[in-house]
Amino acid sequence: MMTLAFLLLAVGGVALWWQRARWSWATVVLALALGIAIFLGDVDFAQTLGLQL
């Protein structure tokens, strides 16, 4: 999932190089959504404030 998120940003950068605004927007939004999902999955909400590895 993390690899995919970085790949999406790389694709977004390539799209930006070629001035493909829509592709750039789509990939950065997807990458950020994936990043948020990974972060929320990492936090253990069962514990108080998730302060546990």
């Binding site: 993390m2 690899t3 970085f6 940003l9 950065v28 990043g35 972060f39």
Partner: protein, 198 residues
Amino acid sequence: MRLSPDAARVLNLIGVLAMVGVLAGAYVYQFAHQELPCTLCLLQRLAMVAVALGAAMNVTLGPDPRHYGVILVSAALGGAVSLRQTLLHINPFFDTTKGEPTLAATSNPPFGEPVFGLHLYVWGLLLFAVAILAVGIVMLFRGQFDRREPETGAIRRLGHLGVGLLVLMATAEAATTFMECGFGDCPNDGKWNWWLFG
């Protein structure tokens, strides 16, 4: 005071190059200390690449409030991750397996070696805070969103260089992340055990 579109592009390009430089520094640290980044560390790197991409959108497509929005959302995500990691390690007398305080000093050691006195996740928190502040300051100036001013050739060439470096960095991050984590969860022990070479 007015900020021209080209001046805004140059400021954003400086931001792109600064983020690429920080990510390159993280690689130097990673290989010098032979410490693989944890999941939260990789998320912070992801947020840095996204911040740089938002700035690169301003450089390539022209300054736009929506591009600054990308920077802010990315910096907010990165700041949240950095803050979480800082708080996880802020108390060395906390037993994370039991979820309770303990007098054993090494029960919750900081992750990684400090750089100039601060650990990388604390530096990350500062960096994302600076990015948010910088966007706030830049957005105080009008004129940069005037699309009637065409981009100069030199700015276009420099912009291409910046985006090219960003693409290289994002691709390198994807490659090393895959080498470290493979198709599963990323290791969080900081040891030099790559999935690909395991």
